[in-house]
């Protein structure tokens, strides 16, 4: 059954069809939420809340990219969770430092690296996660959607309900800030992560 048929069945109350959609998107949604929130529990809460909201609000889906619609919902769920955490902060910076997310075992990168390379990459990933947390929320979301989720400017504009000029501006600032943060931490730019200076 294709996606639109699943959506139509889910709108009619077929929860199994909706759960098929959940299975298709839950990894992407959770990873997106995790990068925004910076820790697994809040990310799981936001993800679950987003899927519940999506099911209950399916009648408001007006076609277009279901993934974009879903990511817009999870973005809002993350904003809500971040506001709750601002009111009642529960996670310290130290907790973020010791956070050790479980990488997906299927990723080939870890298998190709030696122990030292793997450790260096882990440290870099943790530094990036901390650097993301330093960004304003709108820049953080834009940067994650673009450079981690690999979405186009148009998709990001659809998800964040902004225009392309705003996306360009947010991305430029976010990348520059994260770059400066990583340079200050001494984590950025191991030579293996550099590309040739030639612009493709």
């Amino acid at each position: 059954m294709d996606e639109q048929a699943l959506i139509k069945a889910a709108v009619g109350g077929d929860i199994d069809s909706f759960n098929t959609l959940v299975l298709n998107y839950q990894s992407q949604v959770y990873n997106f939420a995790y990068r925004i929130m910076g820790e697994p529990d809040s990310a799981a809460d936001a993800t679950q809340e987003a899927f519940i909201s999506a099911y209950r609000g399916l009648h408001g889906y007006r076609g277009g990219s279901f993934r974009s619609w879903l990511l817009r919902i999870v973005t809002n769920a993350c904003y809500d969770e971040l506001r709750r955490r601002k009111r009642r902060p529960v996670t310290s910076l130290e907790a973020l430092h010791v956070e050790d997310p479980t990488p997906d075992a299927e990723l080939p990168a870890q298998h190709q690296e030696g122990p030292e390379g793997y450790t260096a990459r882990q440290e870099l990933n943790q530094a990036i996660q901390l650097g993301l947390a330093e960004l304003p929320e709108d820049q953080r979301v834009t940067l994650i959607l673009s450079d981690i989720q690999g979405m186009s400017y148009e998709e990001i504009a659809e998800i964040t309900l902004t225009n392309l000029g705003t996306i360009k501006s947010r991305l430029s600032r976010a990348r520059a800030k994260l770059r400066d943060y990583l340079l200050a931490q001494g984590e950025l730019l191991p030579s293996e992560y550099r590309l040739d200076n030639e612009f493709a």
Partner: protein
């Protein structure tokens, strides 16, 4: 001329620097692309910025996917639309409990009033009246002991009203509400100090006939009907006393419980004024 060139170069540097991110994404137009390319040929800082930005993007692209902690499929209970608050069983139970408690309080209060009225009726079987209604012009002051004007202002049978009123009025110290009822009975029994400004004249006027001193019904009545300036009472409509007394008399000629609620309603503002 040299300064102008430096300024133009600075402006170009800033514009190129802002375009580097979009340049890496190939989201610049032809004019912007030319500008950045031309500037990069001569600006080492921008070349470094471009390299570090590119490395940052590479590091972000290389971020590993995180393993799911669990499945996020929905159960039927999770998918169910939440009920409005007023439909939820918890809210309904709470409202029912609150209503039950309020009912018990009100009923208990009314029963205690009726019981005390009836017990007093056994000793003073005269009908009630609202002669000391604070809406009458004569009740604007309650502290005077001048009996003569009071007798002129009395309704048809003022003496019939006095004993029962003592049962209705709580002492001035007693808080309003159900808790004030019992205190009102005891407080009314002991009213014997008409000269004390801190003491409610209401106590005096509702004092039991067995009380000593000026707390007799006649004296108490006089405090109700004699105009003085020691206590400010709201102005009243013309002749409400007799009208209400007549209504009460006609409705309950024996002055029983049916008189209780209207009478208390009338006295409530007086009681509030007497609170310290």
């Amino acid at each position: 001329m040299k300064g102008l060139n430096i300024r133009l170069r600075q402006t170009e540097h800033e514009r190129a620097g802002k375009l580097l991110s979009a340049y890496l994404d190939e989201r610049v137009n032809a004019r912007e692309y030319t500008l950045v390319q031309k500037h990069l040929e001569t600006c080492q800082d921008c070349q470094d910025d471009l390299a570090t930005l590119r490395a940052t993007m590479q590091a972000l692209h290389a971020m590993p996917a995180i393993q799911l902690p669990r499945s996020f499929t929905l159960s039927r209970s999770m998918a169910r639309q939440p009920r409005p608050m007023w439909i939820s069983p918890l809210f309904r139970n709470a409202m029912a409990a609150t209503a039950a408690v309020c009912t018990i309080i009100v009923v208990g209060y009314l029963v205690s009033l009726n019981t005390s009225l009836w017990s007093n009726q056994a000793t003073q079987p005269q009908p009630l009246s609202v002669a000391m209604d604070n809406t009458t012009p004569d009740t604007e002051t309650l502290a005077s002991t001048d009996i003569a004007p009071a007798e002129k202002a009395m309704p048809a049978s003022p003496e019939a009203t006095m004993p029962a009123r003592a049962e209705l009025v709580p002492p001035v110290e007693a808080p309003l509400g159900a808790g004030g009822v019992g205190g009102g009975i005891g407080g009314g029994m002991g009213g014997d100090a008409p000269d004390a400004t801190a003491t409610s004249e209401i106590e005096l006027m509702y004092a039991e006939p067995t009380a000593t001193g000026q707390a007799s019904p006649e004296a108490a009545m006089s405090t109700l009907t004699t105009p003085t300036s020691t206590q400010q009472m709201p102005p009243a409509a013309p002749q409400p006393t007799t009208a209400l007394a007549a209504a009460n008399d006609s409705a309950t000629p024996e002055g029983k419980g049916a008189d209780t609620l209207p009478a208390f309603t009338i006295y409530l503002p007086m009681l509030i004024r007497e609170q310290p």
